[in-house]
Amino acid sequence: MKKLRELYVSCKARGLTKEQDEMIRRELVAAEKAGDVDLYHNLQPPIRPLSMYGYNDYQMLHGGAAPEPTPISSVHSLDYLLEKDSQREKDGFPRKIRIGKLVKPGRDGDEKVVVVPTTVEEKLIHDKVRLDEEEEGEGEGGSDGGSGEGEEGEVIGEQPVRQEDGAGTGAGQGDAASHEIESNAYDLGRVLTEQFALPNLRDKGKKRSLTRYTWDLTDKNRGFGQVLDKKATLRRIIQTNIGLKRISGQGRIDTTDLLMSPRDRVYRILSREKDYESQAVVFFVRDYSGSMSGKPTELVVNQHVLIYSWLIFQYEKQVETRFVLHDTEAKEVDDFNTYYNSKVAGGTQVSAAYKLVNKIVEDESLEKDYNIYIFHGTDGDDWDTRGDEAIPELKKMLGYAARIGVTIAENGYGISGKTEVETYLRKSGLLEEWRNNLRLDVLSKDATETRLIDGIKKLIA
């Protein structure tokens, strides 16, 4: 905290406008107040039926949760459904299959993300009167039934705030557990590519051939070779002896009595194998400062799920990914789940993240062997208000990156289109100068999934 304060003072010394000061103070307060920090953006509500129609005999009497039907168990394959969906477009109707994801809460917070195609049947149905979406729940919001003790007005329980239409649906029981993000992401990527006609990345500046050869003891050869495969040899010997009627079905086999031909020996032999080399490394960089709490985080991680899935498909699972989180300091995390689920905290300094990316690239000399893509998601706040530190780092990144995509998901506190990051990016002129390598996408707080996908097109095209 002290460090943050110091940083704030140094920022202030450099001169801040009133709005900038407010923005920094807000995050500072949020960071210092413990209550705000331990906030998972996708915390699941306690499991109970959505409405009274959610109660059912199977669950109540047989004591089991009703299994959620998943596309894995469906009669038709995903391909069939997608083909059907593209046929709709040809017939002049809008597509109907969308991308959804399930978050399965696990113990110790290791939640699993499962991506699935979804559809919704549109009907004329009643809606609630929605005017106070921001303050939902402050007034009349969602009354429900209850029973037991308690005076009128007495608080009987509480639940951490989560996004109203958070991450897909409730607990996906049963089947959902067995699907890791990778295998599903591949499917999602395919869906994305086909469905939304995302442009394919050009193989820009390919520095090395995609394939190379290694030698390995993988082929088998009878008669001679480098290493004897004992199991396979024994099998051949038995086959030969059965053929010679020296072994019958019944009785013990006398091994000393077996005949052995030279061709029964099976060896492993050195052979040339194709070896694929990753040709892209992708950095996902996410701002997880206090002001990202809620919708901005949701938007950014959703977009990154989509990009990640799509890349995995595009490069046949050969893309390498690195995940970086930052507030005022940056750190690298191991996997997508951690990246996806990390809680929000602290202040914001974009430059810290850029510095870390540069350091990783330099230390591991990734530049030489890989196409490098960097996707950065933030709400646009930056304590380094003029980008004095971020811009030089960004320039350095542009030196090697094939594409940098910056997504700004506005948190709704400031004025739209006037966030720090957007302002200094535009002012720097880098967007024009490096039109092919640097892209910016600004999302408003209420962006939909379709908007996210349009955003991806913008970042990647």
Binding site: Y55, N56, D57, L61, P69, V75, E122, L124, V129
Partner: protein
């Protein structure tokens, strides 16, 4: 799927006997199947009816979306389905005592299906065999027409929640096709709807009528009608219009109207679509009563499994195990609305009330709470009364008629409110109200309630859908897709009238409660007209 073992079947037959002795009525035959989880996955999207027609949406995972339960109201995991004979589903590893409990629950449902008048349109045929012929029909059409069959299913399903369920029931109630008389029309419709008479004015009219009958028993009615006709010259034309409407299109639901009048479906090459639409319509009608009797149906089944299980001599020694499961099923959650628990408690409550004669006028005039609690005429008519309720009520009537303060107090019920605590960033649940009125309103608000939409055609050939205003807007995201389907089936432009809340600015006077207390935004209802033409939706103010 396989049938349950002979051993279990014998237990089931024993349960039926005991249930009959207790007064339940249902047909003799029933089918019980063992299902695996895999079966469940496949049966789920088909509402547990294996013979239901195939449709690709069943293949796609259906996630929680806005208004999911409004879209898929009929509970997919019901263990009993209302067919002839009724079919129920079981796990294969249930112990006998648990099966007995479930059997009784199932018998409760079967009794309800076969006696509650809201199911009367399902009594004459077996849905599962109708479904299989529909399934074959659709499969056959699919082989001829390809994916266009799916479009027709999709578009018909876009309005299949608006089927004329009550109109269908009304047809069963009055098989003679009797029409409303002018006198009935005058009192029931004209005075109330067109003249908007006050109660005293209305009573005066009745007195006038009674006087005329007394004076002249033979011609009194005619004389009375003559006078009112001369008093309200428009009465006769209104009456004729009403009769014509009654017999004609205004009573049709959208799907029926399309089948009868759509110029597009009338074309020779499109006739097959009408048969598909009819399949969707009858299927939807079949599922309608289930969703409208959830509390009653589950309450009734829970009431009986508890009553009958405890009396059953065959499973002595399993009372504790039973109690654990039963408590899970029928306990009132601290927060949430469990229809099993609420329904069962209401049945017990009504039985007790009727036993003590508390439905008498005398009791309702009693205000002394002590006297009220001690009131007991020992009428012992409780069972008869709940059987009457089981036969004649649907959820909305059940809830609105019987949840009173005594009931709410007895079970310590309350309405839960939810508010945001910004300091702790949590939603806090609190006891909002213990008033019976509020509780009843809250339950009624949660009940399934599809919009009421009437159909008409303009002279230019535009299909006009009029959404009746009930203080609720339509879900706007879905209007586009739904109307596009209707336009396709109609073959011309479609207009929809609906009301929407429009926020109005309130003068920012500093409130005494301070800036923290935000004023609730105000709004006015405005009527809008949506027009779907050439698959493009437009929206304009209709007033």
């Amino acid at each position: 799927m396989e049938l349950i073992s002979q051993h279990a079947k014998k237990i089931m037959e024993g349960c039926k006997e005991r249930a009959r002795d207790a007064g339940l009525t249902f047909q003799d035959e029933s089918l019980e199947y063992i299902v695996t989880n895999r079966d469940m996955l496949e049966l789920g999207p088909k509402n547990m009816i294996p013979t239901l027609y195939d449709y690709w949406v069943q293949d796609v995972e259906i996630l929680k979306e806005t208004g999911r339960y409004e879209l898929y109201p009929s509970n997919p995991y019901e263990t009993v389905i209302n067919t002839r004979p009724p079919i129920s589903f079981y796990n294969d590893n249930n112990p006998d005592w648990l099966n007995v409990m479930i059997f009784y629950h199932v018998i409760g449902h079967i009794d309800f299906f076969q006696n509650n008048i809201y199911f009367r349109h399902t009594w004459d045929y077996d849905f599962s065999s109708k479904a299989i012929s529909d399934k074959r029909l659709i499969a056959m059409l699919r082989s001829e027409k390809g994916h266009w069959v799916d479009y027709v299913i999709e578009f018909a399903k876009a309005v299949d929640n608006l089927v004329g369920y009550y109109e269908t029931l009304a047809g069963y109630a009055r098989p003679d096709g009797r029409r409303i008389t002018m006198l009935d029309y005058y009192f029931d419709v004209f005075l109330q709807k067109h003249q908007k008479k006050s109660i005293s004015g209305y009573v005066k009219e009745i007195e006038d009528y009674n006087k005329k009958i007394k004076e002249n028993p033979e011609k009194g009615e005619q004389l009375f009608l003559e006078t009112v006709k001369s008093k309200y010259t428009e009465l006769e034309s209104y009456y004729k219009k009403h009769v014509a409407q009654d017999a004609g299109r205004s009573r049709m639901d959208i799907l029926q109207f399309l089948i009868e009048h759509s110029p597009f479906l009338k074309k020779e090459e499109n006739r097959w679509m009408a048969t598909v639409i009819e399949v969707i319509r009858t299927t939807s009608l079949y599922f309608q009563p289930q969703i409208r009797t959830k509390i009653l149906n589950e309450g009734w089944a829970s009431y009986w499994h508890e009553e009958l299980f405890l009396r059953d001599d065959r499973i002595k020694g399993h009372e504790v195990e039973f109690a654990i499961i039963n408590a899970k099923v029928t306990s009132m959650p601290r927060v949430g609305l469990n229809p099993y628990a609420l329904g069962m408690r209401l049945f017990y409550y009504l039985e007790e009330k009727a036993n003590k004669g508390k439905f008498d006028l005398e009791f309702s005039r009693l205000y002394d709470s002590y006297a009220r609690s001690k009131y007991d005429l020992q009428k012992n008519k409780g069972r008869d009364y709940i059987f009457y309720v089981r036969e004649n009520f649907a959820d909305s009537m059940f809830v609105n008629s019987f949840i009173d303060q005594d009931f709410v107090d007895k079970h310590k019920l309350f309405v839960v409110g939810k508010k945001l605590n910004k300091e702790r960033m949590t939603w806090q649940y609190y006891v909002k109200s213990r008033e019976a009125d509020e509780y009843r309103k809250m339950v009624a608000e949660q009940l399934y309630h599809p919009p009421s939409v009437t159909v008409d055609v303009t002279e230019a050939g535009t299909l006009v859908l009029d959404h009746k205003f009930e203080n609720k807007p339509l879900l706007r995201e879905f209007v586009d897709g739904s109307l596009m389907g209707v336009e396709f089936l109609w073959g011309g432009p479609v207009a929809l009238y609906s009301s929407e809340p429009i926020p109005i600015k309130v003068d920012e006077t500093p409130s005494l409660a301070g800036p923290e207390e935000k004023m609730r935004k105000q709004y006015v209802w405005k009527r809008f007209k949506y027009t779907m033409k050439g698959r493009k939706l437009s929206r304009e103010l209709a007033e």
